[in-house]
């Protein structure tokens, strides 16, 4: 299968219970319309979906795993960003 004729598409499904589309996997298809059908046949066989998005995999820009230090480690020391950092005064009661 020539990759140029059957490019890869990322599939996102919004389930019955979910509010947002979630990434579920990928399919090969010649174009967007066929990618939607392939996604329907591959990923909604057990009544999972209410809505499908397909996106050309080539259109996704991904972060470089080697960058994980500069990208993600600086947040580790900012514990005040978590709600559990704060003590809630007695008078407030249950929030």
């Amino acid at each position: 299968m020539a990759e140029a004729k059957m490019p890869l598409w990322e599939v996102f499904i919004r389930s019955r219970t979910g509010l947002a589309h979630r990434h579920v996997g990928s399919v090969h298809a010649p174009d967007a319309e066929m990618a939607l059908q392939a996604a329907r046949d591959t990923y909604t066989r057990r009544g999972e979906g209410l809505s499908i998005w397909v996106v050309p995999s080539a259109a996704i820009t991904a972060s470089d795993p080697a960058d994980k230090g500069p990208l993600f480690e600086p947040t580790a020391s900012k514990i005040y960003r978590h709600p559990s950092f704060y003590e809630i005064p007695e008078e407030v009661g249950h929030m």
Binding site: M1, M6, V27, H28, A29, P30, D31, E33, M34, Q37, A38, D41, T42, R45
Partner: protein
């Protein structure tokens, strides 16, 4: 286990025709399982096969009730020989290449989508209920097969050549969709069956649109095949049934 004999009233014969067509085409599609050109299409074709199998099961169940002899869907599927099958000939032809399968599914769905739409108002309420479910399924089959037809017809030189060959081979089998014999007349008069003549404009429109988009010439008028409804089949059905039926005949009542 011996072959069963079915006393076919017009109503029972009519339901068996629909059931047999759905079952036989379902089996032909299921032969793609593990052999389709790509995994996605493997799933798509077997999905369609399972939809048709579901329709066949409901129709056989209905046939069993109409017959009233306590038979099951399996008895009808597994214990009749080829001359007792009432399916359209187009359903039993070997699966061929991918283009052949797509062209057959396009023709079949282009007829059966409007058929089930009209059958929703059948005076046979069970049939109307089955139509309600089948109509949605076949709408998707038509969309899927039609989308491939356009891409194969207007695709590479090879895909176009294969599609044209499939159209030539299959078009003579489309006449049976519109055949009305005594059984059909009785069913149309009773308001049980849609009149196939009333489905022709919709069938033609669908093909007109798809063939134009696929840049394919419309098939010319030709001599049409006939026989399936009377049990006069191609040599292929017997071989298919041998594969499909051998297990329940060799081990009667076998369960998973």
């Amino acid at each position: 286990m011996t072959t069963i004999r079915v006393e076919e009233t017009p109503h029972l014969a009519y339901v068996l025709r629909l059931a047999d067509s759905a079952l036989v085409l379902s089996h032909r599609l299921s032969e793609w399982c593990g052999h389709a050109p790509m995994l996605e299409e493997d799933l798509a074709l077997t999905n369609i096969a399972l939809d048709l199998l579901g329709q066949a099961r409901l129709l056989y169940e209905h046939a069993a009730t109409l017959e009233g002899k306590g038979r099951s869907e399996d008895d009808f599927a597994y214990l009749r020989d080829a001359p007792q099958f009432r399916n359209l000939l187009i359903c039993e032809l070997p699966r061929g290449d991918f283009a052949f399968t797509i062209v057959r599914q396009t023709f079949f769905s282009a007829f059966f989508h409007p058929f089930w739409q009209l059958a929703r108002s059948s005076t046979d309420r069970t049939l109307a209920g089955i139509a309600e479910k089948a109509e949605k399924e076949v709408a998707y089959h038509l969309r899927h097969a039609g989308a491939w037809l356009v891409r194969l017809g207007d695709g590479t030189e090879e895909s176009r050549r294969r599609t044209l060959e499939a159209v030539d081979a299959l078009w003579p089998y489309t006449g049976e969709f519109f055949e009305v014999d005594e059984v059909g007349e009785t069913m149309i008069e009773a308001g049980i069956a849609p009149d196939p003549a009333s489905l022709r404009p919709s069938f033609e429109d669908t093909l007109e649109r798809l063939f134009a988009e696929a840049d394919l010439p419309r098939p010319a008028l030709t001599w049409m095949q006939t026989g399936g409804l009377r049990g006069v089949h191609t040599e292929h059905l017997g071989h298919m049934l041998a594969v499909m039926q051998h297990l329940p005949r060799a081990y009667p009542g076998a369960l998973w």
